[in-house]
Subunit: 111 residues, 2 copies
């Protein structure tokens, strides 16, 4: 993900099961970094890096609170993802019956 465009960063952030699991946990409510890391067999530093990725993608917000950081999910980028993928909805909803099949065949013979 070398690019700067925002949605690429969101997709890249979501392309990791650990980060998706963190988001799933955060969907149930805020948590500290230690709480988020508990289920995973990796170091706290690695969790911190995952949180950096999620934060840069705009998917979470970290707020300092005494010696802890509270982490909160930020769903706006997911709304953007839903919007992007909705562009393709008709493709997977398309019926391969009379009309659909006809259009398909039409297109195939075009060139």
């Amino acid at each position: 993900m070398t690019t700067a465009d925002p949605i690429s960063g969101v997709f890249a952030a979501l392309a990791d099961p650990t980060r998706r699991a963190i988001l799933a946990r955060l969907a149930e409510g805020e948590a500290t970094v230690a709480q988020l890391g508990a289920p995973f067999p990796i170091s706290a530093q690695a969790i911190s890096k995952h949180l950096n990725v999620l934060e840069r993608a705009g998917l979470i917000v970290r707020t300092r609170e005494a010696q802890w950081r509270r982490v909160r999910i930020e769903p706006a980028p997911l709304r953007d993802v839903a919007g992007w993928v909705a562009q393709y909805r008709r493709l997977w909803e398309e019926r391969y019956d009379a009309l659909g099949g006809y259009l398909e065949r039409l297109q195939k013979e075009e060139p």
Copy 2:
């Protein structure tokens, strides 16, 4: 994206603007590799690699046809992505009015 789980591969495939543009083109109909590559200032080999990524993610199908390859979009994984992100829909639709605000406050004071 070292993991083998399918949706990670889909997200990773979508995390690149060139590949998303290729999908956008394919949403309008099948195309050859050369046609797909034309808009981009990169080599045909690089396009071929992008197609490999999309194919491994299940987002396209390539079929040989004389000396050309016809490339077709395969929308099923996008349906899966839509399903995944729909889990979070209530979060971005949540109203911050009486009820929503109350639940939020409740959660914050919990510990």
